[in-house]
Symmetry: C2
Subunit: 228 residues, 2 copies
């Protein structure tokens, strides 16, 4: 189809083509061989620009999150009210997911959290903390809202993701590296680590997060009962 076979093969062009292919025919249609054909080349050529199928999918997940960031940037300055800001960000995230129905499944199937997501989290935490939420509450909000937009966000910052070791030292190091770029996230993690220093479990107790969100919903429903 492409009369533009002249365009040089690049990582970025491959990712765009892969995303378009997934939009049109589903994520199942994105195979190395098919993607190569779509761009007028043999399957093996892709390995010069991508580290393999799994890396392709990781990059694709990253791309979706970046698309959300672009959407947020295009929406203009953030509302000063934290609720409005958070609400708008969630709705924009959803609108992107609707454009790419394969995206939620892809993101939640990957073990690694897309790095672009951290900027998104930082903005959310910043907004919420300025709005009067504690770091603890902001953390829970991240899980509650994240599970809405993505389907599931099991463990946002797993120590295991950074390296093999599960000890607190590794977590502290990770923290220091993030401090400059993501100050609010760092403060949040530090506050949580300080409160309950449980080195064995990951510091995201997903059972607690689940129950928190569940009770938030049940409280809300109770308040809306007709006979209340």
């Amino acid at each position: 189809m492409s009369t533009q076979t002249r365009a040089p093969l690049s990582r970025d062009r491959l990712l765009s083509t892969a995303a378009a292919l997934a939009d049109a025919e589903g994520l199942g249609a994105v195979t190395m061989r098919r993607l190569a054909a779509e761009v007028g080349v043999e399957a093996m050529s892709l390995y010069h620009h991508l580290p393999g199928k799994s890396g392709l999918l990781d990059s694709l997940a990253e791309r979706v999150i970046e698309e959300i960031a672009a959407e947020v940037a295009a929406a203009g300055p953030a509302p000063q009210d934290w609720r409005e800001d958070v609400r708008r960000r969630c709705l924009l995230a959803r609108s992107v997911m609707l454009r790419h129905p394969w995206a939620p499944g892809l993101v939640s199937s990957r073990t690694e959290v897309p790095v672009a997501a951290y900027a998104h989290f930082e903005a959310l935490v910043d907004s919420m903390v300025r709005g009067g939420l504690s770091y603890h509450l902001a953390h829970r909000a991240l899980h509650a809202l994240g599970s809405m937009a993505l389907g599931y966000v099991s463990e946002i910052f797993s120590p295991a993701a950074a390296g093999g070791s599960t000890d607190t030292e590794a977590a502290e190091e990770q923290l220091a590296a993030m401090a400059d770029v993501f100050p609010q996230i760092t403060a949040m993690v530090a506050a949580e680590l300080h409160d309950h220093n449980d080195p064995v479990l990951g510091w995201c107790d997903s059972q607690s997060e689940f129950e928190f969100t569940l009770d938030l919903l049940l409280d809300g429903l109770d308040r809306l009962r007709s006979d209340a």
Copy 2:
């Protein structure tokens, strides 16, 4: 491994083996060839008991929902308080999902909602309506809580799922067939159809559902603010 090669190949045994295989090595390990090998037979023999790979996965999704039902049954009589009942059901659903980490992804990747899920929905709606929630609110609750337990429940009762036609007639027929088995769900759908008879869109306006859940969470977070 199986010294029990004597056991006759049956649909049920295949599904059990497939579930165990997914538990042990992930859903990716569940291939027709591997499943066959696991049970001491050639891949092609599976087609005598299963309609193919896609059917296998559908049945596997069904099985997980049935496991939740069994868990609920084992937990004894339902609490009379609607909140306690709904809460317990959600937590039990989650505990099953934790046993089968592949399950949420599988269920949400299937286009069809497992039929066993309707009994689950019926019980939830019944509990909530008795608790004073309107059918409308119960419907929204189903979406909000469903997205928690499964990651996502896009369209619970799509008219398209029943057949090709999207008109209200087909929906009415579907309704009549369900009335005996699932009276509360039927009443809920009837109430919703009556309120806003929008025959073009599916009656689950997922954008509205999303915003409803989002606002429920934001309201709850606002109420928990430290400076409130």
